[in-house]
Amino acid sequence: MLHSLRNTFSLGFKSLWNRRGTAALTLASIAVSAALLSVVDRVRTDAQTSFANTISGTDLIIGARSGDLNLLLYSVFRIGNPTNNISWESFETIQARREVDWLIPMSLGDAHKGFRVLGTNLDYFEHYQYADGLKLSLSTGDTFTGATDAVIGAEVAERLGYAIGQQIVISHGLTATSFVTHDDNPFTVVGVLERTGTPVDRTVHISLAGMDLIHAPPGGFRAPPALDSYEPEAITAVLVGLKSRVAVFSVQRFLNEYQREPLSAVIPGVALQQLWGLIGVAEYALLGVSAMVVLAGVLGLLATLLVSLNERRREMSVLRSVGARPGHIFSLLLSEAALLAFLGALTGLLAVQLAVVLVRPYALAEFGIQLSVGLRVFDFAVLAGILFIAVLVSVIPAWRAYRNSLADGLTVKV
């Protein structure tokens, strides 16, 4: 049985090699379809994982009244712009609630060479968690102690080649190029964070005092006696950790009904689910289109096999004369389809691996998506699925070859 199978596949391979021009084109079309399906799923799942890993342990995100998604995107993912600020009094009111364990104030709106600048305090380094409860840690240097100190993310350090002691100038606004720079108040890099695979890597962190310093008129800013006691007039958002998760809904209701200024409080997990729900339709549409491309590739394979049948009738007749049974002819055609499908799908999946290695740094830098390298269960499912469909549709040419071989006998009348 095994010997017969090996014989069939060996003949099938040699037959394909003999027609390698058309076989290569068919293989390429299957490779492209498999690659497309794999890429769409990889980007989809890796984007979800990257987003889900960005924040952990935070019970509520508070900002000025806006949509839940907008608040989540600008405060955590540094995507989009805040609609308004929150007053420091509101921050203190929230801080005074007994359910609250910790708060991280966030002040956004400026950038350095395309990287977002976040004004915050030392609680950020103590309480911010990502992935599965990991805390931020410094690879070199220390957290800020002065108003003009900056702690940069790993990506910022790597891309801009910054190290401790580097002087940087913050630009007003969020674009990579800005006409308004705060070059009268340069900052000094005092710490570089370990890589996290989150937007933290692409953030320049300064103190709240530093944020106010660069926006104050010349000479209009008085440096605080102690950095941690500095109280700005307003901030952009607040990350909240509660003593007990049971209190999430009551605190959320309190904040959403807050009378002194309009606030929004969102639960990160719920907002993420909203995000998946929103983009889920597009994801499945893309997967559907990719599946159609796979089908087109397999139909191309079917067409190739069918077209080749007539010119191969003499070959089949010779095989019959040396003892091949109709079943051998049938399985020869199936083996050719299986080989093309397997090699095509494998080529496509390996090409995806290569492409991922090449575009990985770009995807991380530009979109914050940590693309994973290595074949996954879905890839094996793609491989098996394409193989199955190819073998299934190749039953048609295999059956025709089988019928021809019975009708032609040992002499072909073509």
Binding site: W17, V322, L410
Partner: protein, 242 residues
């Protein structure tokens, strides 16, 4: 090459055979035909007289509408298709007029091809020469195919070389019956005689019965017996075929 073969009375026997591709249009009607083991039979007749049809029946691809066709005393007419295929794989070597070889296989691979489908022939080839490739090499050498050509693709050979490779393929594993269906029609007269002599010598050393079909009667002298198919086929279908 001392393989004790099973004893059988006839290599081929045909009794009361009637066959037509279309109902009412008989192509073959043979009362009796018997070919003894190890005989070298020359079967001739004009194109369209039913030679290839008779060979297809002896090869077990076609079955008669009436009567019996037996090979090595096994009644093919009573067998299922798969059993007839097995008889062909194990006991028959077939050489065609042209397009004999599988284009994507090398010369040696073409010669070894029957052993992929018949364990019996595979074992006999291994028993004769130690390995099936060695058996193929010996046959190719005896049939005058240069060693350098063995690894080449069959399509790189001349027509005469291809026919000799086809003969080696038919002979590998020493099948009891060799059927050659006008294998010399594309060769010139000298090469035709050389090919027939070589083929018959090989068949003799393999103890194989030969049925050689041709419309060239000048070759008849090489054989033990010459049969004009028109003499035994009683159909009136091809009176002008002569």
């Amino acid at each position: 090459m001392s393989d004790p073969r099973a004893e059988y009375a006839h290599a081929v026997s045909v009794e009361g055979l009637k066959f037509g591709y279309i109902a009412g249009e008989e192509v073959l009607s043979i009362d009796a035909l018997a070919i003894e083991p190890k005989k070298r039979v020359f079967l001739y007749g004009p194109s369209g007289c039913g030679k290839s049809t008779l060979l297809s029946m002896i090869g077990g691809v076609l079955v008669p509408g009436e009567g019996r066709v037996s090979v090595l005393d096994q009644d093919l007419s009573a067998m299922k298709g798969s059993a007839r295929d097995r008889v062909r794989a194990d006991h028959l070597g077939i050489i065609f007029q042209q397009f004999n070889l599988v284009p994507y296989l090398s010369v040696v691979e073409n010669v070894c091809l029957p052993c992929r489908y018949s364990q019996r022939r595979l074992k006999r080839a291994e028993s004769d020469d130690g390995a099936v490739e060695a058996s193929a090499a010996r046959l190719l050498s005896e049939l005058g195919i240069d060693e350098r050509l063995r690894a080449r693709r069959s399509t790189d050979l001349s027509v005469g070389q291809q026919q000799r490779v086809a003969a080696a393929r038919a002979l590998i594993g020493r099948p009891e019956l060799i059927i050659a269906d006008e294998p010399t029609s594309s060769l010139d007269a000298d090469r035709r005689r050389d090919f027939v002599s070589l083929l018959l010598a090989e068949c003799e050393s393999a103890d194989s019965t030969v049925i050689f079909v041709s419309h060239d009667q000048s070759l008849a002298s090489h054989f033990d017996e010459a049969i004009d198919l028109r003499d035994i086929n009683r159909t009136e279908r091809h009176p002008d075929a002569a």
